[in-house]
Homo-oligomer: 251 residues x 2
């Protein structure tokens, strides 16, 4: 089976307006897969769609609403979807937990966990039935440890990483490739907004991240395949290291 | 400050009907702390309350509903709460992700994550304002890795562990002790129901777990303090080990 046969004819990219999502959409188009682009703003979706060299469908949808998963399932019901890439989930707050109203965090939880559960259940069922395809959940190095300014973000990214791992184990034998994609610091518009003008070296290029993702769809449960960079360090040390890392973004 | 001064006069134990929650409630009573017991069934709550040697208040509440956190906040608004122990969250399903309707998993997510975010935000704010007290989030060894039959459970427990770690970092400097309590296999009614009659050796005693928890409230971010038992093993190996462990519960 070639790539488009296994993961096409359609892929759904949730969080496709910029950064890694937009790069994945373009690269999927280059590989002959048609792409459903999902994000909040229609205008941005149209701009990205114009760069994708295959058929596209744009769906303007807020992924933090309670009915987002069922709305997206309905809006793609007529398509044979072979790949789900869930790339939404940056934390635009990067704030202390008590410094934001709880509704902000419940929205992040809905977008990064509840909608992910809904979509992986829907598309996972369809893919298992056809016996091929894949699902990618984009996680983050923040999944490896909590820390100051990371509370709900780190928690949701750990959720997504564990969910991807379990689904890799459960759906692999049914022909479905599941991958938890652990992003390091990446040069995306979302991350640049958090950096707010601060210099940061060694950021990954979204095009490279997208390429790594698509080249490793069948090499789950995670990319990179390595375990936690913290090894078996006592948790207090891990949390202190994570807090130090995050504090550089708030100085 | 003695124990009851720091963590009293009232503690809230969510998931107090049996097992570790019921043991914690009794031991808090022995240490002179009054206890709010929260669980679904009033009758069970009354039975546990009768074993607690301090004042109690029982609140019958389904922690998987969308308004559970605000309902509990309201029902304790007249009390000076110094400790929150969130112990709800066993997975009564222990099933493959696609073998249950998605509503089952959304309910587990609500109980183990959304309600936890709501309660830690509410009580965390109150505790930070008074400058003392604590919060315990009960997690599980399943937080360390996904695996077959563990999908949403492992994900929610990783969420809780990371949230506890971050809140330890953010609230510790404000006098609030936060602890992520990582349970191993424990001889609770909930776990016995999952075992369904299978023999299992080396289960921990809920009374010992409760004692460890209360003795280590100020020793966060986690108890045990050690890092992941998997060290830096590649994730595929971790997931295979977790899947093997879980498969013994489904043979």
């Amino acid at each position: 089976m070639d790539f488009a046969e296994r993961y096409g004819p359609w892929a759904v990219v949730a969080g496709a307006s910029e950064g890694v999502g937009a790069a994945v959409a373009r690269q999927l188009g280059e590989r002959g897969v048609d792409v459903v682009l999902v994000s909040r703003r229609q205008e941005t979706l149209d701009e990205v769609a114009a760069t994708v060299p295959s058929r596209t469908r744009t769906i303007a949808l807020d992924l933090s609403t309670a009915d987002a998963a069922s709305a997206l399932a309905e809006a793609t019901a007529d398509l044979d979807v072979g790949l789900l890439v869930y790339n939404a989930g940056a934390d635009p707050n990067a704030a202390l937990f008590l410094d934001r109203p709880v509704e902000v965090w419940q929205g992040l939880l809905a977008r990064n966990c509840a909608t992910v559960v809904g979509l992986t259940h829907h598309f996972g069922g369809l893919l298992a039935a056809r016996g091929s395809g894949g699902m990618v959940l984009v996680s983050s190095g923040a999944a490896w440890g909590g820390g100051s300014h990371l509370a709900v973000y780190s928690a949701t990214k750990a959720f997504d990483l564990r969910l991807a791992e379990s689904l890799w184990a459960e759906l692999g034998p049914r022909g479905v490739h599941v991958l938890g994609m652990v992003l390091g610091e990446t040069d995306t518009p979302a991350y640049r907004r958090i950096l707010a003008g601060r210099e940061r070296e060694g950021l990954a290029d979204p095009e490279d991240v997208a390429r790594d993702m698509l080249a490793n769809l069948g090499e789950g449960p995670t990319f990179p395949p390595d375990g936690t960079p913290f090894g078996a360090l006592p948790r207090r040390q891990v949390v202190e290291l994570m807090s130090q890392g995050a504090s550089m973004l708030h100085s």
